[in-house]
């Protein structure tokens, strides 16, 4: 089997031994109606309404969408506009917590009897891919293709982030319970729980927990970036290749993040929808790096203050990891369902891009075998036919090419710009 290209990054998992701490209730939460991939929700509440924890406050008629729930009990102060880090615009609901954190009557364990009721419950839970992409979980499960393998993604290959790792260390039974539930309800035979080699404790724990279950394989992934990318993890754990224009389901696989699986298990027990988020707070501006469990909608500023961030000195804040995360323009943006990390840096110097020296490092590191230097050249002369031949459409923006480039060229960004030149199918 051909080995895919990787890059070796400094892991910087400074928070791996930081047990999750709950953030104190903030003075205000801002809950966007779009925290997932797909149609944004329409607010179900208006200014002045009293809401409770777990109450549904946003819903959409579209199938490709997931509902939004309140993370606090309190009063709706405003319904405003919000632009996500991805640039999508949606409504947002601002709630002032009353401090009582009363749980809504809507919150009760779902009745799950078969695949259909399970998928319905998954949608109601507000679940979307917690690894960062936010793909609606129920859509993944609603495939008509025959699925024989569930790949559970515990790679967490980005530097700094330990949120999934803490899930695996703190809630291993939820992970195994979730795996068994998904397997049983969807009729999947095998599970590959894939964890990067830099998390030996998690690998050891799960190997013990699954010792008597021959349907769960613990796969140790090489400690290199980007093991957690969907196509990469499928290839490295099952040997299957997801072809251009097809979905993992077409090769009999669905991939779920380890935290998503564990969340679904808890939801099946207590019916509390997705209203909190564990995120790693780290970076050189952070006084006390840690893993924080925050109500969704908490402003990044509150999280930063809790972790003793030197806010005056901060130059760059990243929502997510340093490789694929988004740098945010404003620290009053909210924690959303997909916020796996908040990184704050005070020393950041943008390097200047110089001419391509054709060293080929970008080609040598691309996990998919793309040629970013050639794409860059074709993009500059707007050669769309060549961009098609170079398969720029398959780029997953993992950032390895930009990282490796000695001329500091933003190759990954160029790939995304080049994709926009391709005619829509």
């Amino acid at each position: 089997m051909k080995k895919l290209n990787v890059i070796k990054l400094k892991h910087r998992k400074n928070t791996e031994n930081s047990a999750t701490v709950s953030l104190p209730l903030p003075a205000e939460v801002t809950i966007p109606m779009s925290m997932h991939m797909g149609a944004p929700c329409t607010p179900l509440v208006k200014v002045g309404d009293i809401v409770k924890v777990g109450q549904k406050i946003g819903e959409s008629d579209a199938a490709f969408s997931v509902p939004v729930h309140s993370s606090v009990s309190g009063t709706v102060k405003a319904v405003g506009e919000y632009r996500s880090v991805m640039g999508a615009v949606s409504k947002t609901i601002v709630i002032e917590p009353d401090g009582r954190q009363e749980v809504s009557e809507e919150v009760k364990p779902p009745i799950i009897t078969d695949k259909e009721s399970f998928i319905r419950a998954v949608r109601e839970s507000g679940s979307c891919g917690l690894g960062g992409a936010g793909f609606p979980t129920h859509i993944k499960m609603s495939t008509k293709s025959e699925i024989d393998t569930l790949v559970v993604n515990g790679a967490e290959c980005e530097p700094y982030i330990t949120a999934d790792y803490r899930e695996m260390i703190e809630r291993p039974d939820d992970v195994i319970g979730g795996i068994n539930m998904v397997k049983d309800m969807l009729g999947i035979k095998h599970t590959k729980l894939a964890i990067e080699a830099n998390k030996p404790e998690a690998i050891r724990n799960f190997t013990e927990l699954a010792a008597n279950d021959d349907t769960i394989d613990i796969v140790t992934l090489p400690s290199a970036y980007p093991q957690g990318a969907e196509k990469v993890i499928i290839y490295n754990s099952t040997g299957r290749i997801v072809n251009e224009g097809t979905l993992p389901a077409d090769v009999g696989v669905i991939v779920m993040n380890v935290s998503t699986v564990a969340f679904l298990y808890r939801y099946s027990k207590d019916g509390m929808p997705l209203v909190t988020r564990r995120l790693t707070v780290d970076g050189d501006a952070v006084g006390e790096p840690k893993n924080v469990l925050a109500p969704i909608g908490t402003h990044f500023r509150d999280v930063m203050e809790f972790c003793k961030v030197d806010i005056e000195a901060v130059k760059k804040v990243i929502a997510g990891g340093p490789m694929m995360g988004m740098s945010i323009p404003d620290i009053d943006m909210p924690v959303v369902k997909t916020s796996n990390a908040l990184l704050a840096f005070k020393s950041y110097e943008a390097r200047k891009a110089t001419s391509c020296i054709r060293c080929g490092r970008c080609v040598k590191v691309c996990p998919l075998g793309l040629m970013p230097a050639e794409i860059d050249k074709a993009y500059r002369i707007k050669d769309i036919e060549d961009l098609k031949r170079l398969k720029v459409n398959l780029c997953m923006n993992c950032g390895s090419c930009t990282y490796a480039c000695p001329a500091n060229r933003n190759l990954a960004e160029t790939n995304q710009l080049a994709k926009a030149l391709l005619p829509r199918k």
């Binding site: 806010i311 760059k316 995360g325 001419s355 020296i357 060293c359 080609v363 098609k388 490796a404 001329a407």
Partner: protein, 318 residues
């Protein structure tokens, strides 16, 4: 609070820059350069200094004249200067070396857009231009260690000797060891295969170069010579093979990017070198082989693109 810096991902960067790459190449050239200066004396060092200084000056002036950003900081002009000097006989008049630098930096490199944009190797092209323009001066070889005496003992290169082998005036042939250690006549940086090998392996260990091109170059020359009944060890150790294979057939700008392409490039160099040496009237063919393969590089590149994971076959009309 400062205004936050917003930039596209990734936000992490690795410490390698164009300058560190070039610095590593300079380090890798040092063994062969030092050996050259020991064998051929201070004249060799002077020639190298002149080449480097004139290359950097031409780079600076041409960027200035074209109102483009100054790029001497990337050290690529220094590398070109050293490699050019290593491709010259130590006796070459200094003004000719300056002409070589002009050809390398201004004509071959900057007129095509500067670093990474040139299609031909600057040092190789300069060597060829000088060889064609000043054939006598470019083939005035001296024996190593004879530079101190007033009339240095002139010498033929091992490849010239090889051409005379078997004729009535068969000369005394250098041993493999002499060739490996470079104790023969030749350009100041090309004679010592050992020093060049050390530099090449250093670059490979630092992952600056890929050994695909050097190995296929040297390998194909070895096999072809062997099959044709020649002396393969002699052929790969003599002349500019090691200098060309490790330092010029691995030039980023003028060789293919993919490993497959690099193998093709090396094979082409080996074959052309063999053909010139075996059938041609020139004793040496390394420079021409690399230049010819430089010209073919865009085509090799087109035909040796990497395979993309899970990509559908490109439409035939695409």
């Amino acid at each position: 609070m400062n205004r936050l810096i917003v930039s596209p991902s990734p936000h992490d960067e690795n410490p390698t820059t164009t300058t560190t790459v070039m610095l590593n190449v300079i380090i890798a050239l040092m063994p062969a350069l030092i050996v050259g200066c020991v064998y051929f004396g201070l004249r060799a060092l002077l020639l190298t200094v002149v080449c480097v200084a004139s290359c950097v000056l031409f780079e600076y002036l041409s960027r200035k004249l074209m109102k483009r950003e100054n790029t001497i900081g990337d050290l690529s002009a220094v590398v070109t200067g050293i490699i050019l000097a290593m491709n010259l006989p130590s006796t070459l008049p200094l003004w000719m070396a300056v002409i070589g630098s002009f050809v390398a930096i201004v004509i071959v490199k900057q007129l095509f857009g500067g670093i990474g944009q040139n299609f031909a190797n600057p040092a190789i092209t300069a060597r060829i231009v000088l060889m064609v323009s000043f054939p006598a001066a470019m083939t005035k070889w001296v024996e190593p260690f004879t530079h101190e005496s007033l009339d240095a003992v002139s010498s033929a290169t091992p490849l010239v000797l090889e051409q005379l082998r078997g004729t009535t005036d068969e000369p005394f042939m250098p041993s493999y060891l002499d060739l490996f250690l470079g104790k023969t006549g030749g350009c100041l940086g090309e004679t010592c295969a050992l020093a060049l090998l050390i530099g090449g392996l250093y670059l490979a260990a630092r992952r600056i170069i890929n050994l695909a091109a050097p190995l296929s170059f040297i390998g194909s020359l070895f096999v072809l010579t062997w099959v044709s009944g020649g002396d393969p060890v002699y052929q790969i150790l003599a002349g500019g093979v090691f200098l060309g294979a490790f330092f010029m057939a691995t030039d980023y700008a003028t060789t293919p990017i993919s490993t497959k392409g690099k193998v093709v490039f090396g094979l082409g160099c080996g074959i052309i070198t063999f053909v010139i040496r075996h059938f041609g009237s020139f004793p040496e063919g390394v420079s021409f082989s690399i230049l010819l393969m430089n010209v073919l590089t865009p085509y090799i590149e087109q035909l040796t693109r990497t395979k993309v994971l899970g990509a559908k076959e490109a439409e035939k009309n695409g």
